[in-house]
Amino acid sequence: MKDNRNNTIMLIIKDLKAAVGGKTILKGISIEVKPGEIHAIMGPNGSGKSTLAAVIAGREFVEVTEGTVTYEGRNLLDMAPEDRAKEGIFLGFQYPIEIPGVSMVNFMKTAVNEQRKHKGLEPLSASEFLKLMSEKKELVEINSALANRSVNEGFSGGEKKKNEIFQMSLLEPKLAILDETDSGLDIDALRIVANGVNMLKRADNATIVITHYQRLLDYIIPDVVHVLYDGRIVKTAGKELAIELEAKGYDWIKQSVEKNKPS
């Protein structure tokens, strides 16, 4: 079979419905992401943004009730979370998890080598890995000391978010989903996070930026902006939509959705 992956759509989400604890959160979502694209998913709190990220990453507590998610031609929903990761899906966590006593070096070396094994590559030696790590540290302007500490332990909010981008840079995912990576960041950290994303952008990978604010999109220019409201995509347009949202606020969307609701 001819590999025409680059011409095809990387991620196809079709009529996706999902529930958490019996409560339907996603009520029919369809999105298509092509290689090279940056998509922004915006929406007010509670609209289902993080649930969507959780479905793509494979969190167990989200129950998919209808619809399909296809990633590079495969049924993503059938894949274990670690296999999704090894196939190039990366989730930047909204609340990165602390793992006391596990050094970032050991953690990321394990992760990188799992991925290499999956691709049939030899594992990186300790010295090769440390070299890679110091290159990437510079790229995302992460403090050397952070990389030697335990995973996220005692990191400030901003450090945790930078650390997510640092991990992303080491894993070079095909599809990165950044879940509210901008929340709680000061302007410098925001710039560093955005720079990281922009520098890692390639023609064959894609990014989904989930955000509440338009602020991050001053630095990361999206190709497509979706507005998620009450479990549905209510508007999809180009980058100008983000600016419109910033000016008018989410009430504008809410009102137009409520108005059009069949009674």
Binding site: A57, G58, R59, E60, A80, P81, E82, R84, A85, K86, F90, L91, F93, P96, I97, E98, I99, P100, G101, V102, V105, N106, F107, M108, K109, T110, A111, N113, E114, Q115, K117, H118, P123, S125, A126, F129, S150, V151, Q167, L171
Partner: protein
């Protein structure tokens, strides 16, 4: 080191107990049962002097007046002490002068356990006393060590060759009256290791004893005696494994350490006795009395233990801090999975001035395992300036297991500073998912998280053992989550 870690994480795919095999070796075995005649037979088999036989008999008579201790947080099934074989040793040729005289099956057994008896094959820098059931099979590097005046040999050899040293120190730290299992051991002990580091000598290699239970229906009762004279240093390791059997087997050991002025002893254990199967059938009952005395000023005794095996563990490696400015340390990781039970901890007895002790205990419970920390910090009246820091952490995997902490404080000196911290945590689904999302499988994630949790203790182990211990932790907990 980092490479080893990866190898470990990759290699380990099955949770089977790896050392559960049995070796068919010609044994010299006495019938089951315990009485004064049995003790005479053991003593006779070892060609012991009269004083040692007397010691055994006194211990035995005392033991008969004692009852099995019930204060631990353990459910101990009745043990029939008449249903145990108290002596089983691999048959020896007249006097094995070289390795060629040792049963090849024995050599193969220790090879399989990763403990080659040939010096040239062994890890550089580690001398081993290999003990199977009731007898020491071979002590490596004995001659090399003797060049620095260090005595490292089996306990039986020590009784023959250095009776004065043995007589001087044996039973001074753990008297046979100490407890039920110490009395039993003192009556029937068969072998173990003896080590003496002379004044001013820093032992040039790690010393270690590897204990293997092989024969069925036997108990293993070894004694280790370690004496560090003034200004000396030694790091000592012990490891242990046993075949998988449906019956429980008893292991009741004594370890005594003496540290003189300015001496330092590091004693590390990786305990991996057969833990029993998933239903709790079989496994070793591990009742051990370990104690060291810092007799001299500025002396130091440091216990590090990684306890992953045994159906029941009852063990409290302790330090008597008699010399002024002496230091005691206890670093422990204890794992209980499936139906394993552990009641383990330490005693730090501050007698001298400015004595310091540190206790770091990390319990890990999974399956239906029950894990208790029991620790005593005792500061006597004259121990001015005494300090203790204790930290007891528990990690729970799953909701059928238990973690318990029993700290005891007896402080009779007003100026003493005693600190105690305790935490209990669960391995979170969030932590596991975080690892999954980076491409790390759940089993590997648990290994990483548990090793991270235990790192403070694992770091205290000599490197070869640290790697082994990490691997063990991971294996012991496989299949315990999800």
């Amino acid at each position: 080191m980092a490479k080893d870690q990866d190898k470990i994480l990759n290699d380990v795919t099955s949770g089977e107990y790896k050392y559960g095999f049995y070796s068919d070796i010609e044994m010299d075995k006495i019938p089951k049962g315990l009485n004064e005649d049995v003790i005479r037979v053991i003593s006779n088999k070892k060609d012991e002097p009269e004083w040692l036989l007397e010691f055994r008999l006194k211990a035995f008579r005392h033991w008969q007046t004692m009852k099995i201790p019930q204060w631990a947080n353990l459910t101990i099934p009745p043990i029939d002490f008449q249903d145990i074989v108290y002596y089983a040793a691999p048959k020896k040729k007249a006097s094995p002068k070289s390795l060629d005289d040792i049963d090849p099956e024995l050599k193969r057994t220790f090879d399989k356990l990763g403990i080659p008896l040939e010096e040239q094959k062994h890890l550089a820098g580690v001398a081993v006393d290999a003990v199977m059931d009731s007898a020491s099979v071979k002590t490596t590097f004995r001659e090399t060590l003797a060049e620095s005046g260090i005595i490292f040999c089996s306990f039986s050899d020590a009784v023959r060759e250095y009776p004065d040293l043995v007589k001087k120190y044996m039973g001074t730290v753990v008297p046979y009256t100490d407890n039920f299992f110490a009395a039993l051991n003192s009556a029937v002990f068969s072998d173990g290791s003896f080590c003496y580091i002379p004044k001013g000598v820093r032992c040039p290699m790690e010393l270690s004893t590897y204990f293997r239970i092989n024969a069925a229906n036997t108990g293993q009762f070894e004694r280790t005696l370690l004496v560090a004279d003034d200004e000396s240093y030694v790091s000592y390791l012990e490891g242990c494994t046993a075949p998988m059997r449906d019956e429980n087997q008893l292991h009741a050991a004594i370890v005594e350490i003496i540290a003189e002025n300015n001496a330092e002893v590091k004693y590390s254990t990786v305990q991996n006795w057969y833990p029993g199967d998933k239903e709790g059938k079989g496994g070793i009952f591990n009742f051990v009395t370990k104690r060291g005395i810092c007799r001299g000023e500025n002396s130091k005794i440091s216990w590090t233990q990684v306890e992953t095996g045994s159906a029941i563990t009852w063990k409290y490696p302790s330090c008597i801090l008699r010399g002024d400015n002496s230091t005691g340390e206890f670093y422990s990781v204890a794992v209980t999975n499936n139906h394993q039970q552990a009641d383990t901890g330490t005693k730090m007895i501050h007698i001298g001035k400015n004595t310091k002790s540190t206790i770091v205990s990390k319990g890990i419970s999974a399956g239906e395992g029950q894990n208790s920390y029991r620790g005593l910090v005792k500061v006597l009246k004259n121990a001015t300036g005494a300090r203790n820091f204790s930290q007891c952490d528990s990690l729970l995997l799953g909701d059928k297991c238990g973690a318990h902490t029993f700290p005891y404080l007896e402080v009779d000196n007003q100026g003493a500073i005693v600190e105690h911290e305790a935490t209990t945590s669960k391995i979170g689904e969030d932590q596991i998912f975080y690892c999954n999302q980076r491409g790390i499988s759940t089993e590997d994630a648990i290994g990483l998280i548990v090793n991270g949790y235990a790192r403070e203790v694992l770091n205290k182990l000599p490197m070869e053992f640290a790697v082994e211990a990490q691997k063990l932790l991971q294996i012991s907990l496989e299949g315990s989550v999800g």
